[in-house]
Symmetry: C2
Subunit: 206 residues, 2 copies
Amino acid sequence: MERRALILEAAAREFERVGYAATTIAAVAREAGVPQGTLHFHFPTKVSLALGVIDEQNVRTFDVVSHVDSSPTVALVAASRGIAGMLLTDPVVSAGIRLSLERGEFGAATAAFYEQWIGGISDLFRLSIAAGELRTDLSAEELGATVVPMFTGVQLVSAVRTGRQDLFPAVAAMWRIVIAGIAAPRHRERLLGVVAELFGDQPVGA
Amino acid sequence: MERRALILEAAAREFERVGYAATTIAAVAREAGVPQGTLHFHFPTKVSLALGVIDEQNVRTFDVVSHVDSSPTVALVAASRGIAGMLLTDPVVSAGIRLSLERGEFGAATAAFYEQWIGGISDLFRLSIAAGELRTDLSAEELGATVVPMFTGVQLVSAVRTGRQDLFPAVAAMWRIVIAGIAAPRHRERLLGVVAELFGDQPVGA
């Protein structure tokens, strides 16, 4: 792994372990196994390190959206499954999403990423509508601008309530409601079947 | 207003204006017009002040849920409209929700409030199911454990994207999807009409 990536992975692990406020540049350098001078060369401040993690998280998660399935709605559900999986296994993704939700100094970066996400997801919803998979009076833009925040909230509350242990059933329950609400009748059962298949078939909540 | 309430209102305004980290006890005392000693008597630390705001926010918002309409689903939609309105006008509510989303030291309080909210909203969904207003294979618990996080995300993203300017249409779009997904067919048009009436009929997003 190149040094910049090594440093971001180490920073993500530290941010997740002790939180942003308690993370030190020295600890990240130690964890990454690089001299502090090298770390300072890539990331002069702790803020730049956090923004680097947020940025890398965004690249990694956005990557799972670009592979369009033969069914655009399945591609949407599969993208959310991919991101949920990364939230459980990739510290850069979990730390990046956690940092970007802790507003304040990262607000500007966060706002730009929401626009990017809502744009990308709206594009997929546009394809879903064009493919005849949906029947709804909401536009593709309205669907993107609503489902992205829904997913944001579902993963956030799953983190707070169960440390993400119920993340898959929680995202699945979101899709069961959304698909029942917007799918064209002749696609509904197939799409609900895809949700059950991708996320397993467990109950949500305690 | 009694002194404790005065202090909480002043603290909420300061937390909203400059953020948690930059808020000082001295500034809150000045804003509330009380001696610092009085403030310390009620709230010995800044953390206790933040927890006080979160607690008071929870009391105020939970209050709007307790008035059950003749239609439990309308009561649910009306409660979300009430909370959205308070987010726009009551600094204790907006500061409390912002603080409770900034995890870390408030995580434990936040987790307990989610349980309370999900419990309360699930109770209303149980009434909706009993009243025959819903047709869904999700249980009342699953609905509560999904719609509360959806609302959390929708109001959060509205705050980040537009400073809550699109909060009403954003919450309305959430309900349009949810109601289309779970309402019994013969109640669907009426409930969608209630959403349009309570939130106005504007498009969401930019």
